[in-house]
């Protein structure tokens, strides 16, 4: 499989990465090189093979549903680019 310029733009949109017009052709070439490389997987017979979900068989660990952390709002927002009263600030999303 290979991608065309429109697909490159669609992937960039899904990945939320702005792509300039003059970057598309180059990116398309790189992505197609990688896709061509992974193409060889299609020759493997995977009939009836379970996809791996965990390298070590383990039971999902669970713990009591209790509060173990919190009351650290100032620390949570400490590295944020824009905050007010311990809220994250973003551009307006609702008109």
């Amino acid at each position: 499989m290979s991608v065309d310029a429109a697909t490159v733009r669609r992937i960039a949109r899904l990945a939320r990465i702005a792509v300039e017009d003059d970057e598309v052709e180059h990116l398309q070439g790189e992505l197609n090189a990688i896709l061509a490389f992974v193409e060889q997987l299609s020759e493997v017979d995977v009939t009836g093979v379970e996809p791996m979900t965990s390298v070590t068989p383990m039971v999902m660990k669970k713990r009591e549903d209790v509060v173990t952390d919190g009351e650290i709002a100032e620390l949570v927002v400490k590295n944020a680019p824009a905050t007010e009263d311990n809220f994250f600030l973003v551009p307006k999303v609702v008109e």
């Binding site: 939320r16 997987l41 551009p91």
Partner: protein, 492 residues
């Protein structure tokens, strides 16, 4: 007296315990070596004040005979580990001003045991790379050069700063992370020892996530014994990482020097790849001979799905990365580039904050997970992964204790030599290491010798799940036979 920066970690430990040297002297010697080696670009942040304060605290404990297992020993930390109050960037522009308010579990274990932090080490951006050339702080220069040549070489990657710093005597040991070979390949390129433990052995909590089903932390050191000492401290169960295993951590140092007599060592025929150099082939053969001389039995084994590991990796790792790196959106941490609405802000922030290799991998990952392609790519890759793991299981069930392979297909290459063309060419560096991550197994790289140009070459040993001890025993057997290798100090 011996130059403090030439000591092994075990030697330094013993000198500190006997009070023949102070942590202050040892730490100061390393800080001056770091200052003289800035041209290598191994450290992206030096923390001398913190180091000296930690050394002073260690000296007080040592005076009272209360030191921990790593008391007073200066180490470097890869910039993928969150360090409380100390800038942690993953060597990405998007995190250039991130100062964690918490400490990674692995690094907290080192401080618990008394180690001293010298600073943060360079790596490929988000650990994506095999040469340390994708770092936003620029490439690391390897302390190794070809004989009679001053061309700058890469130390390998992604843990290039860790490998270079350990090889150049800029710390006694360092932490690394390994998703497809990021500890073992740079260890091989720099003549150092690096181990990626079994998936689940070290907690991933507080390590910047790349591909969560493959990422593992591990140490770099100049000897097998030193790496065993460090892994014992780094490993251990952590309730904050649900994939961290609740198993006791053995005394790995006790496995160093243990006999390997009677162990069955597998030589996988599929690793004899096209175009493998005669030198690598000879080194591999030599490694098998050394183990045989120590009483091990060498057997040929087959890992038929080996050739599919790298292509499967380049689906699984970017897919997981595209998901993990979705968190860098300019809202909660990291840099923000303003936009007229929230989507434009995300898109501009991520375009400016991520480097080329990271953007490329996020896009591949996004594509293979997108509607209509998931089964053809991601699901198939995870099925192939099951087959790769079964190959190894069949070997171990047949009584093989460990598998011996070359660590890399070549010695280190020049800075800028492989960055221009096809991204796949760089990916091929990990051809021998990536299978181990796909199967979640432990793997160690140990120096095996120098090539004709005087550059280090490494051997890799792959073990059964949670049997790192056997790897330390076998690794030390090779180390005893091969000797140790250090670069000439041309930079200082």
């Amino acid at each position: 007296m011996t130059d403090p920066i030439s000591l092994t970690l075990a030697e330094a430990r013993d000198l500190l315990r006997s009070r023949a040297m102070s942590s202050k002297e040892l730490t100061e010697a390393h800080l001056s070596a770091m200052a003289a080696a800035r041209g290598l670009n191994a450290y992206v942040l030096e923390t001398p004040d913190k180091a000296l304060a930690m050394a002073a605290a260690s000296d007080q404990k040592l005076a009272k005979g209360e030191g921990g297992p790593l008391e007073g020993l200066p180490l470097g930390i890869k910039d993928m580990f969150a360090t409380e109050g100390v800038r942690t960037t993953a060597c990405s522009a998007i995190l250039e001003n991130f100062v964690p308010v918490y400490e990674s579990t692995v690094s907290s274990h080192l401080w618990r045991d008394g180690a001293v932090m010298l600073g943060k080490l360079n790596n490929d951006e988000f650990a994506m790379g095999s040469s340390n050339e994708t770092s936003r702080f620029g490439p690391v220069v390897s302390p190794w050069r070809r004989k009679g040549d001053t061309a700058k070489l890469v130390p390998g990657g992604s843990s290039g700063g860790s490998a270079a710093a350990v090889a150049a005597g800029l710390c006694l040991g360092a932490t690394g992370t390994d998703t497809g070979g990021s500890i073992r390949q740079p260890a091989a390129f720099t003549g150092t020892v690096g181990i990626k433990p079994t998936y689940g052995r070290c907690s991933r909590w507080g390590i910047v996530a790349f591909a969560s089903s493959l990422d593992q932390a591990g140490p770099f050191a100049r000897t097998v014994r030193d790496s065993a000492i460090l892994l014992r401290a780094m490993a251990g169960h952590d309730p904050k990482d649900t994939t961290s295993v609740d198993l006791p951590v053995p005394d790995y140092e006790a496995a160093v020097g243990r006999s390997v007599k009677g162990m069955k060592i597998g030589i996988p025929k599929e690793y004899r790849v096209d175009g493998m150099s005669d030198e690598i082939e000879a080194l591999w053969h030599q490694g098998a001979e050394w183990l045989k001389a120590a009483g091990a039995e060498i057997v040929e084994v087959s890992l038929p799905h080996t050739k599919y590991a790298l292509p499967a990796y380049y689906i699984v790792a970017p897919a997981e990365a595209s998901s993990n790196l979705a968190r860098y959106d300019g809202v909660r941490y990291g840099v923000r580039v303003p936009g007229h609405d929230v989507t434009e802000m995300y898109e501009k922030t991520r375009a400016a904050g991520f480097g080329r290799e990271v953007r490329r991998r996020i896009m591949i990952g996004t594509y293979v997970l997108s509607a209509g392609y998931y089964d053809a790519y991601y699901r198939r890759a995870q099925q192939v992964r099951t087959l790769i793991k079964r190959d190894f299981e069949a070997c171990f069930e047949a009584g093989v204790s460990a598998i011996l392979t070359p660590a890399t297909p070549s010695a280190a290459f020049g800075i800028g030599e492989k960055v221009s063309g096809d991204p796949v060419e760089m990916y091929l560096n990990d051809i021998f290491t990536v299978t181990v991550n796909m199967a979640g197994l432990p793997g160690i790289a140990v120096p095996g010798g120098l090539d004709a140009k005087g550059l280090p070459l490494g051997l890799q040993l792959v073990g059964r799940p949670f049997d790192e001890e056997t790897l330390f025993s076998l690794g030390e057997t090779i180390e005893q036979a091969a000797g140790r290798f250090a670069p000439e100090r041309w930079w200082a």
